[in-house]
């Protein structure tokens, strides 16, 4: 390749400048094509399926029917509501738990900083499913938590139960996504120039005032990133509701999974997925507006 390069300097420069304009596209092409074919096309295709009718045996025809949407939304409003309530509660809980933790690691971690961060990401080193199963063991009716409370301490009645309640689902979601909240919060807090906070106290701001007016606003990009990283997967999760919940605590993910895998009802699965995606998109945009986009670029 290189040996066939023209030797005259002008020709070489022309060749190189053409190479310069073509190279980035050549580097991008394989990966971007992959994403176009297997990410963009499926999402478009999903929309087409959502306005189609048919079955796996007869094939699907585009009929511009909105039945999948009207049927899906009227039948599964409760599950959409569950997703919103459980996902939203878990997101707020991860923020309430995660912020003090990230603050402590960033400002008071000292030489334990790396160890603490390592412990925060330790759950990632084991499978998501196994961690959720561990929660089921932990919260079980005769498990390590309820067992002693019932039989040794006698605080709870013998038939007390956590598994199959919304509390167990929310606890599982909160647990599974907490590191996704702590890490971006930590990154944002860590970047804060400590002299800004010192300047605030020099100007007679109380510690609370300095936190409210300096630290917290500067941490907002982390709050934004952490909330999205928690809320989006929590809204679409069906594993926690399946393992820790009951049919009454089904989330929209369980419905989509069931429609898709058990009933092969692709139009309804597509319509529900589409509503979920659009809903999340609208929520994210509204949220970005509320927080103020100029603060988030920092």
């Amino acid at each position: 390749m290189r040996s066939s390069r023209p030797v005259s300097p002008r020709a070489s420069r022309a060749w190189r400048s053409r190479l310069g304009t073509v190279t980035p596209y050549a580097l991008l092409a394989p990966g971007i094509l992959w994403l176009l074919i297997f990410y963009v096309v499926p999402v478009a295709q999903m929309f087409i399926f959502s306005i189609s009718t048919g079955s796996l045996e007869t094939g699907f025809q585009i009929t511009y029917s909105l039945d999948a949407y009207t049927e899906g939304l009227s039948r599964y409003g409760e599950q959409f509501g569950n997703s919103l309530v459980y996902g939203g509660t878990a997101t707020i809980l991860t923020l309430l738990i995660g912020f003090p933790v990230a603050y402590t690691i960033a400002f008071r971690g000292g030489r334990y900083k790396n160890l603490l961060l390592f412990l925060v990401i330790a759950p990632f080193f084991t499978s998501f499913l196994i961690r959720t199963i561990s929660w089921k063991i932990l919260l079980g009716d005769e498990g390590p938590l309820l067992g002693p409370l019932k039989h040794v301490l006698g605080i709870l009645p013998g038939d007390a139960s956590l598994v199959s309640t919304p509390y167990a689902v929310i606890a599982g979601l909160t647990y599974n996504f907490l590191p996704f909240m702590i890490l971006p919060l930590y990154v944002a807090l860590e970047k804060i120039d400590i002299r800004l906070i010192e300047a605030a106290s020099d100007l007679y701001a109380s510690r609370w005032e300095a936190f409210r007016r300096i630290t917290f606003p500067l941490a907002l990009p982390g709050v934004f990133a952490g909330t999205l990283l928690t809320f989006i997967p929590a809204m679409g999760d069906f594993v926690n509701a399946q393992l820790l919940g009951s049919p009454q605590t089904s989330m929209i993910g369980n419905v989509i999974q069931n429609r898709f895998l058990i009933q092969n009802d692709y139009p309804t699965a597509a319509a529900l997925s589409f509503v979920l995606m659009a809903g999340i998109l609208v929520a994210v945009l509204a949220y970005a507006r509320v927080l103020g986009s100029e603060q988030l670029t920092g």
Binding site: G31, F38, T104, W208, L228, V239, F260
Partner: protein, 290 residues
């Protein structure tokens, strides 16, 4: 809040007490919350779940200490095959996504070209899409390749199998690889390359002798991330796996009928290997990866 009525000094004292006493305690408790399920996983890998002794088939309650599961970690039908498939898919998806993602990362950090904003959005979107949506939409695409009008016009990817899982894993890994490689390339000193060229190296030699060795740690970090995402993926895989098992799919399928302690053994082994990998790379470079 009490802070608004209390005098300034006592508020300050309260805040200080909060920061010095309450925050560390809270942090330790929160980290405990994160670690408890891992400890439970490890402890229950030593549980005796023996049907002939009346323990049932579910590893939800403690019966007795036993090394049975550790001595026989693949002792359930299908577990070995599922684990093998998971490892194979993870290796292949890691290689594919690392190559594709690194090329994109290189293009984004070292060339000016039209459409950069669009490319950046395309990289960001998969990370912001619920896995459920990616899984179901990709599954529907694969189904559509077996139905008119696509049937015959494109390769048929239905019924699902290893190849559809692999396509999905490469897809969702690419973005993470690009982000990781880009972070590494951002701090790259271009003068090192210029120096190599000044000393007579051509572009090809410069890339392999200077650029590549410098960005290699970033590529390795990206590959490790891709591998761990791939081997653990359940939600997307569940939509495109059909009858093909992976370890998470197998676990999800079996827990309706049984919960063998072998699941905890495999989980513990994966955990220990990952911790050892991170610990060794931390000791080598003096700081944790990522």
């Amino acid at each position: 809040m009490a802070a608004t009525v209390a005098p300034q000094r006592s508020t300050g004292r309260l805040m200080r007490a909060l920061e010095h006493r309450a925050l560390p305690v809270f942090t330790v408790l929160a980290i405990g919350y994160l670690l408890v399920p891992i400890i439970v996983m490890f402890v229950f890998s030593f549980n005796r779940v023996d049907q002939s002794l009346g323990d049932g088939k579910f590893n939800y309650q403690w019966h007795a200490f036993s090394l049975e599961a550790w001595l026989n970690p693949l002792g359930w039908p299908g577990l070995g095959n599922a684990l093998y498939a998971s490892l194979w898919i993870a290796v292949m998806a890691t290689i594919g996504s690392t190559i594709l993602g690194t090329l994109i990362g290189l293009a984004l950090t070292r060339y000016a070209f039209r459409g950069r904003g669009m490319i950046n959005s395309l990289i960001f979107l998969p990370m912001a899409t619920p896995e459920l949506v990616m899984g179901s939409s990709l599954g529907i695409l694969f189904v559509a390749t077996a139905l008119p009008p696509l049937r015959g016009a494109v390769p048929t990817l239905f019924p699902f199998g290893i190849s559809t899982i692999l396509i999905a894993h490469v897809m969702f890994n690419i973005s993470y690889v690009v982000v990781t490689v880009k972070a590494r390339l951002a701090g790259f000193d271009r003068r090192l390359e210029e120096a190599a060229m000044d000393l007579g190296a051509n572009e090809w030699t410069t890339f392999w002798r200077v650029t590549f060795p410098l960005i290699f740690p970033g590529i390795m970090a990206a590959a490790l991330l891709a591998f761990s995402l791939s081997i653990d993926d359940f939600i997307i895989t569940s939509f495109v796996s059909g009858t093909q098992n992976t370890f998470p799919i197998w676990v999800y399928g079996i827990i309706r009928n049984a919960l063998p302690p072998q699941i905890n053994v495999i989980g513990s082994i994966i955990f220990l290997v990952a911790v050892l990998l991170v610990a060794s790379s931390t000791l080598r470079t003096g700081r944790p990866p990522r």
